[in-house]
């Protein structure tokens, strides 16, 4: 008992020190992350329009309006399609690129840099290049399609293809990131697992991939999917520069709708409500990632 009493003091001091040490991070987290999110949440419950002198509590009016807003649903649907197309393509191509680059010898560094370049470059400049690539008459894409005898289109101007053209740009942009993450994952696979597999009787490329590479890449895969999903959810700059949500809302995506409502249309509170939906979706992806990683983290 005396001992317990004696240790209580230091333990409390330790707890205090811990709190003090965590305090700066805690304050910063509120200031930089949670605070603004809460502020946006509160704003979404008002009727405030940008620059207006008065503000009124409006309850869930903005959310009700969103529920009946055709553009919001188009935007959500487009975003889901965009993510649904670009994430699997990015992950698959990123994995193939990583495995291919891992297997080449001398030019590995060059290829890695080449693939990573789009991730590091500003999309604003790159978007102009893509605009030219997709140009209906002189663009590279149509020239290739013509040469192959495939049907051509005015990709960015046609409502049936514009979203997929943007998704292709998104894949191009995120491919390098997926590839680098996969390469890190590949490097982390102990080589003796492949050797053990060879001793156990499997040395074909498919068996090696299926028995070791793929399962060992599990954590990297979850991470890559989550990162590319979040990045795809955030698609904005290509839309802003290349299509402005058009033609006829065919490339209207969540972040673009949010910026347009909040800034162009000056509907700040409504924009805040869309932001909350956006935050919620992003949060859902992050949670899914955490849960999946936790479940798969039992690897030695």
């Amino acid at each position: 008992m005396a001992e317990a009493k004696g240790t209580l003091g230091p333990r409390r001091a330790e707890a205090l020190a811990g709190t003090l040490l965590a305090l700066p991070a805690f304050i910063l987290m509120w200031l930089m992350l949670l605070g603004p999110a809460v502020a946006v949440g509160l704003l979404s419950l008002t009727d405030w329009n940008f620059g207006e002198p008065q503000i009124r509590f409006a309850g869930l009016e903005n959310y009700a309006e969103m529920w009946g807003d055709r553009v919001f649903w188009i935007s959500l649907r487009n975003t889901v399609i965009y993510v649904g197309v670009s994430v699997p393509a990015t992950v698959l191509l990123g994995l193939l690129a990583a495995i291919a680059i891992e297997s080449v010898g001398p030019l590995k560094g060059f290829y890695r840099a080449a693939y990573f370049l789009p991730v590091a470059s500003t999309l604003l400049a790159m978007a102009l290049v893509w605009e030219f690539m997709f140009h209906p008459s002189v663009g590279f894409v149509n020239q290739v399609f013509r040469a192959l005898g495939l049907p051509t289109a005015d990709w960015l101007q046609n409502p049936d293809t514009a979203l997929f053209a943007l998704a292709a740009i998104g894949v191009w942009q995120n491919l390098g990131l997926a590839m680098v993450l996969f390469m890190a994952g590949l490097k982390a696979i102990p080589p003796d697992l492949y050797e053990a597999l060879a001793m156990d009787g499997a040395d074909g490329a498919w068996e090696r991939f299926r028995r070791v590479t793929w399962p060992m890449l599990g954590p990297a895969l979850v991470f890559v999917v989550a990162i590319t999903a979040i990045r795809s959810f955030q698609v904005f700059d290509t839309v802003q520069v290349l299509t402005e949500g058009g033609p006829s809302k065919s490339t209207e995506v969540l972040l673009f709708t949010m910026v347009q409502q909040g800034f162009t249309f000056l509907r700040s509170a409504y924009g805040a409500a869309i932001t909350m939906v956006f935050l919620l979706l992003t949060l859902a992806i992050t949670l899914a990632q955490t849960v999946l990683l936790d479940r798969r983290a039992h690897y030695g």
């Binding site: 329009n49 940008f50 620059g51 207006e52 033609p247 006829s248």
Partner: protein, 420 residues
């Protein structure tokens, strides 16, 4: 409302006599620097030479009307508004709804020398929203048609006798389209900000956007129906392509487009970019009804300051910039027209200029039918603009029948109007 009446009282101070006392510093902001930078700097320094007791500081310009609107709305929240700012005509209503601009009517009434400004009543009306004078026109524009004379002649047209109806325009465009491969007849830029080109079509058919009490959509009525039919006729008969406006303008510069509907504001740019490769002639925008009107484009000078001394100085600057001297500088530098009628009448100011540059005169001649750039009421004003654009797109892309699209457009706009 209270703020404005309070501010009307110190008007006695707003006389040039104030200029003798301590120097006053006022800030000014404008947008579209590629059109206005040199001009604004020249106007400000000319003004300071004429009024040594007032200093103008120019804030960094914003790229376009949307940007300066957002910037100034933000400034209003943080109380850092410029004292004077130049805003797009159709943004005045948004600013007024937020009680940002100062009504200029009392200043005009108190100024004994207001007649020397030469403001015409119709041009002054462009700076009015409801009962208040929110701004005074600085650089004004109207929609016109730009013709490539080479293509025009080849298609059997006559630059001395340009089309005066959309049917004639469409027929000419179709003829031009047929003269060469990779050549388009015309492009009607329906995408210009604030539904400007759509308003031009409806107004020129004698219609309006809303009823006079602003409770009901009026664009779906007969003039609107004729307007949307005309737009579709340009696509069907005139072979107008569904392309992005920048590409169309680039095509015109390159000689791959015969006729281009644009604002006169672009005249300077057209002259510069064409660089004499082919002769350019401007024609009036076809008027399709006896009561036809055309929306003005461009910007007005607005006063934001609430400080009496600064208001006096700001008023002097606004008068200078929009008056004969500023207007002469402005016309020489751009393709816009001024709100002051005096320079055009005086040989030493703009009389000669207009004689030598008849293309600049087209917009001047359209003054008699000019009307405001309509801004929709309520918090969804800008969303309505976007909705209209979407429906216009579907008509130009031939994905919707024009009358059906118009009906849906009217219904969508009605739903976004404030319910009173």
């Amino acid at each position: 409302m209270h703020r404005r009446t309070l501010l009307a009282s110190p008007l006695a101070l707003a006389t040039p006599a104030l200029a003798q006392t301590a120097p006053t510093e006022i800030s000014m902001q404008y947008s579209i620097p590629e059109l206005f930078r040199g001009l604004m700097e020249d106007v400000a320094s000319a003004f300071m030479r004429a009024n040594p007791s007032i200093r103008i500081t120019i804030r960094a310009p914003e790229p376009d009307y949307e940007a300066i609107l957002q910037r100034n709305l933000r400034d209003a929240v943080t109380r850092q508004l410029p004292d004077v700012a130049f805003h797009g005509l159709n943004r005045q209503r948004t600013l007024l709804e937020r009680e940002i601009p100062v009504d200029l009517k009392p200043f005009m009434a108190a100024d004994p020398r207001i007649a020397e400004q030469g403001y015409s009543e119709s041009l002054l009306s462009l700076g009015q929203v409801g009962s208040s004078q929110t701004g005074i026109g600085f650089a004004l524009s109207t929609p016109i048609l730009y013709y490539n004379v080479e293509h025009l002649r080849r298609a059997g047209g006559n630059p001395e006798n340009l089309p005066s109806s959309w049917a004639e325009v469409a027929a000419l465009a179709r003829a031009i389209h047929g003269t060469a491969e990779n050549l388009n007849g015309m492009f009607y830029d329906w995408t210009i900000t604030g539904n400007w080109a759509w308003q031009a079509l409806v107004f020129s058919h004698g219609g309006t956007m809303l009823t006079a009490d602003e409770r009901q959509v009026a664009m779906g009525q007969e003039p609107g129906q004729r307007a949307i039919a005309a737009l579709r006729m340009l696509v069907d008969e005139g072979r107008m392509p569904d392309m992005r406006p920048n590409a169309a303008i680039a095509d015109f510069f390159a000689g791959r487009l015969g006729i281009s509907m644009q604002s006169t504001a672009q005249l300077g740019r057209y002259n510069r970019e064409i660089g004499g490769r082919f002769p350019l002639v401007c024609g009036r925008y076809p008027l399709s009804a006896p009561n036809a009107r055309l929306p003005a484009g461009g910007n007005v000078a607005m006063m934001f300051t609430r400080d009496a001394a600064k208001q006096a100085a700001a008023w002097e600057f606004i008068k200078f910039a929009t008056g004969p001297v500023g207007a002469t500088m402005m016309v020489n530098a751009t393709g816009y027209m001024p709100a002051s009628t005096i320079p055009a009448q005086r040989e030493e100011m703009l009389g000669r200029f207009y004689r030598e540059n008849p293309n600049h005169l087209v917009t001047f001649r359209q003054q008699d039918v000019i009307t405001g750039w309509y801004a929709f009421p309520g918090q969804n004003a800008l969303r309505i603009t976007d909705t209209i654009n979407d429906h216009l797109q579907s008509v130009v892309a031939r994905r919707a029948e024009p009358q059906a699209a118009l009906t849906r457009m009217a219904a969508d706009v009605q739903a976004l109007l404030p319910r009173r």
